[in-house]
Amino acid sequence: MNEGLKVPTMAEFIAQGKQPEVLFWVGCAGSFDDRAKKITKAFVKLLNKANVEFAVLGTEESCTGDPAKRAGNEFLFQMQAVTNIEVLNAYEIKKIVTACPHCFNTIKNEYPGLGGNYEVMHHTQFLKALLEEGRLSIEGGQFKGKRITFHDPCYLGRANNVYEAPRNLIQKLEAELVEMKNCRQNGLCCGAGGAQMFKESEKGHKDVNIERTEQALDTKPQIIAAGCPFCNTMMTDGVKAKEKESDISVMDIAELIASAQDL
């Protein structure tokens, strides 16, 4: 399936004396999580199709430190940050795109204070720019007329006020975008943020992802669109818990666009 996948590393670029136009920061989920790897590949297919000269850090990439910081371990976060910034600065990186809103937020907002200054884009913003520059076309394909609801990732939406890029892309698929009761600024968390992804939740009467999945199901969607690998996991689990996985799929925006074009 992946013969055509071109994924050059920064080391390879430098060996040829070249600079990529953008660094694709894959992130831990995008590198290791089976579900998120599919998102990574879908995004790479789109980058390849649009002939974007991008590079990845590959084995030189390390966790941004987001879950450590939000768990309260500022030491570990800064160790991770400073190490990553050394690598990024050594490669003279100017522009970074990532499919993970947590990496996006951390590199964009928290790295500058530690010496890492880059233009950072979420992959939905980047894809939208490619579309506007005419480098990428989007067609509805199998998603034309489908009911799609978009779950705002906290660290993309409320944390950084990016609400429209993912929605514009869904609309470009000629799909019917339906909004949940809580959306945009009022979006409800999937339950994974703040390092919750890595621990059991505290005692309550419900899991957060179930609450959010119920809100999504209320819109009677055929697809729940996500823009974050962690939200994707939480919503997928929620849909499974509601035994709706045969009717409703949870997909990243990059996957929607890529599979609409049979990439």
Binding site: V82, R158, A195, Q196, G204, H205, E211
Partner: protein, 437 residues
């Protein structure tokens, strides 16, 4: 004897304002118990935020019903209080409705008429607020942190406002000379007939009583503020001014940690060297916060500003799904502990004496802190720009960096990150394997 009312009035006024000033000083002292934080940047944006959010109520109207009612009470209260100026001057000089000597009758009538209409609107809005709390019992007013005092506090404020508005209207309705003007008595002309059975001297007595209770009520209310959630009517302004300007997702990088990390990463540093002059003092006694003095003063100002409306808690994903965490409780606990520390200082001649208590555990439990998803919904929801999330994060920092007391799974996650650069136990050398899968 002729000047007795004037003297009484002056004494009451001085006592009222004096006690309030004393408490404001205490309030400022308590807020300054917090750590210093630099909020001197971007003044234009700060002024704009204050004008929009505090003065302009822009975030209140996100919930239209409560927002509209609140704007009525807010505008009514601010504008009707212009009347206090006249009352104070009259009280001190022994005059009656000095405004009539300053303004042409029509303008005076227009002003008082406006106040009267607003007074009725405020009265109605306050009743609706009371109904929302006590009859409809909106969920957010009945959460577990809304114990008896917070519930009573909210109702006392509403009763105060009802009484003050009533006194204002009665005072006008029973003022024979004012009614005779036939201007400005927009509402009170319909109240005046209720008192038609009274003799002129009794009418005068009712008018004087209402006048006195009106100004006394205002002075009591002013002094009630410090003990009440109602402090927000003053503190909303500085609070929105000093609130966070950076994106909600951006959490501060601890400078003390940066220094240590830079030292650790610098190959030229001799690890056994004595620290350079002055650097010892830069390292704080404590990482993160376990008590109110570890928080910064803006966080403490946040705590005094909170009016316990509960919008934060009603938007909190943890709270919505039955977890113990309530961002409102974080703010209420911070204020309660700060008050306790303040009283301790008062009782011990200006020096805090250890009381074997702290904000962590004695007020805010670890279970609450670990339930937070850091989604910023509470920060977004607050109509006066309070940031409960920053307090939760600072307390997590204390738990992790001072006590190594993170939940086991999080310790595993962090160990993975330290060893192989990912929160899961995968080898960093396998980071690009997806390419060939």
């Amino acid at each position: 004897m002729e000047y007795l009312p004037n003297i009484c009035f002056a004494v009451v006024l001085i006592l009222g304002i004096g006690y309030f000033t004393k408490n404001v000083k205490k309030l400022i002292r308590n807020i300054k118990l917090g750590q210093d934080v630099d909020v001197s940047d971007n003044k234009p944006q700060r002024w704009k935020n204050m004008l929009m959010i505090a003065l302009g109520q822009s975030k209140m109207v996100k919930r239209p019903i409560a927002g509209l009612l609140h704007i009525i009470v807010y505008i009514g209260f601010v504008i009707i209080n212009i009347e206090i100026l006249e009352i104070i001057v009259d009280g001190l000089l022994g005059t009656h409705r000095i405004g009539l000597k300053v303004f042409p009758t029509l303008i005076y009538g227009f002003l008082i008429g406006t106040f009267e209409v607003l007074a009725v609107l405020v009265f109605i809005a306050v009743i609706l607020f009371w109904v929302r709390r006590n009859v409809i019992k909106l969920q957010r007013f009945w959460k577990s942190e809304m114990t008896s005092w917070p519930k009573s506090d909210a109702n006392y404020i509403l009763y105060f406002e009802m009484v003050l508005m009533t006194l204002f209207l009665v005072m006008n309705a029973t003022d024979v000379d004012f009614q005779a003007l036939q201007t400005g008595n927009t509402i009170s002309r319909d109240i005046a007939p209720w008192f038609s059975g009274l003799s002129e001297s009794n009418l005068h007595f009712v008018e004087r009583t209402a006048w006195w209770f009106h100004i006394l009520g205002i002075l009591v209310f002013l002094n009630y503020l410090y003990f009440s959630k109602h402090l927000h009517i003053l503190l909303a302004f500085p609070n929105t001014f000093y609130a966070k300007l950076t994106p909600k997702g951006q959490f501060n990088n601890l400078e003390a940690v940066t220094k240590e990390v830079k030292l650790m990463m610098d190959p030229n540093v001799d690890p056994f060297a004595a620290s350079a002059e002055g650097t010892e003092a830069d390292i704080p006694a404590k990482f993160g916060a376990s008590d109110v003095q570890d928080l910064n003063w803006v966080q403490l100002l946040n705590a005094y500003t909170c009016t316990e409306c509960g919008r934060c808690t009603s938007e909190c994903p943890a709270n919505q799904t039955g977890k113990k965490l309530s961002p409102r409780k974080i703010m209420m606990d911070t204020r309660d502990r700060l008050e306790e520390v303040g009283k301790n200082i008062d009782a011990n001649k200006g020096i805090f004496r250890e009381d074997d208590k702290q904000l962590l555990d004695d007020y805010i439990s670890r279970e609450e802190l670990w339930a937070c998803t850091t989604c910023s919904a509470c920060v977004e929801a607050c109509p006066v720009s309070i940031d409960p999330l920053s307090i939760i994060l600072d307390m997590r920092r204390y738990l992790v960096m001072e006590q190594s007391a993170a939940p086991l799974e999080l310790n595993n996650m962090m160990t993975n990150m330290e060893n192989n650069g990912a929160p899961w136990p995968y080898n960093q050398m396998d980071r690009l394997n997806w390419k060939n899968e």
